[in-house]
Amino acid sequence: MKNLIDPMDLSVKEIDNLLNLADKITANPSAYEDVCNHKTLATLFFEPSTRTRLSFEAAMLELGGNVLGFSSANSSSAAKGESISDTIQTVSCYSHIIAMRHPKEGAPLAGATRASVPIINAGDGGHNHPTQTLTDLLTIRREKGRLDNLTIGLCGDLKFGRTVHSLMKAMSRYKNIRFICVSPEELRIPEYLKRDVVEKYNIEFIEVEKMEDVIDELDVIYMTRVQKERFFNEADYIRLKDSYILDLDKLKTAKKDLSILHPLPRVNEIAVEVDDDPRACYFRQVKNGKYVRMALIMTMLGLHK
């Protein structure tokens, strides 16, 4: 694996290997604390991020490696108009692996064409976020014990949510997956995704407007934020907004072993009262993100055979 730009760059077998390694690291972190000695990760974040950047940095530090980089375009030569390929070629001289986030779609791929070290896409606009997908897959596998035979609810902004699109693509390769998409009509998943994923893999797929109608059927619910500005009119927003907030009342009819995931940050789409429910996995999900990034860094540096 030279670069990780798109979650679909990874085969099911490669994903399994990464998740297995993440499990091993979690079980015995001290065995891996020197694996990346004398290796440096560059985190090039052309737009702000809390979780992803810190998760990458924590991952590398816990592997015994070093970290350098910047956390906004303003603190790099991009502010002077330097091209991505020049920045990447320069940083390739100082590091062994690069994690890059950029607001423009396809920027990590543009950088990868000129990089002499592996590039990890840490999010490119509304396009791809492969390490979030790996985090989600690891979380589902840990919580449910499997990645097949699942009914997965996707709730909220399914039109613009890149994490939802990537998760659907990745999960579609496993057996007997059923998607229930819960969103207002304006924010349903794009047509191309229905054609290229749902129809192509012949996946059972339902679209509904209200969470209450389907929550009892779900093994996993993947929550995302619904933004008011995405609605065409105020009346629809007022009519539907509460349908996309998960609270203890709605969870009354849910399965006892439901897993609640969220890529975070959340605003109000999951009530704080849900945090103490054992079905809430989103903070465990954050931790899983670190372990899966540790596995990814090791694999891409060729330190795990």
């Binding site: 091209s83 991505i84 390929s85 423009k104 779609e105 396809g106």
Partner: protein, 139 residues
């Protein structure tokens, strides 16, 4: 209407009616010094109407560009008045610097030195997507 046959050159036949000017522009035929004939709306048994371009000189044609514009075009190479080679085209797997990505969120919108490359993702429906942002070419 009579157009002289050519002795040494290239004939682009079976161009879908109305596409000849696009072919002319895309292959930069305006930069040639030789005679170039664009014949539009010729009656055709197979196609109903078609366009033909005759180029009175041999030069290297970008068959990928041509295949992308219209994979049904036939390219005939003429030498001493005789057709020495006929090529049928196919949709190319990738095209570079033929189209421009219209997605304002695409990296190519700000890094203009990047090659504008599109990949064929659906042969049946002639769908190409930007390799960077995966936006579909807006026809």
């Amino acid at each position: 209407m009579n157009i002289d046959s050519i002795k040494n050159g290239i004939v682009l036949d079976h161009i879908s009616a109305g596409k000849s000017m696009r072919v002319y522009d895309s292959l930069n035929l305006d930069e040639l010094d030789c005679s170039v004939a664009i014949i539009k709306n010729v009656k055709s048994q197979k196609m109903g109407r078609k366009d033909i371009i005759k180029i009175d000189n041999d030069f290297e044609i970008d068959l990928d560009v041509l295949g992308y514009i219209d994979p049904n075009i036939t390219v005939s190479y003429i030498k001493d008045g005789i057709t020495v080679e006929k090529k049928k085209l196919a949709l190319p797997e990738t095209i570079t610097n033929v189209e421009v990505c219209k997605n304002p969120r695409c990296i190519t919108s700000v890094e203009t030195s990047l090659p504008q490359t599109f990949k064929l993702v659906d042969k049946e429906n002639h769908v190409y997507r930007c390799v960077y942002c995966e936006s579909r070419i807006a026809k």
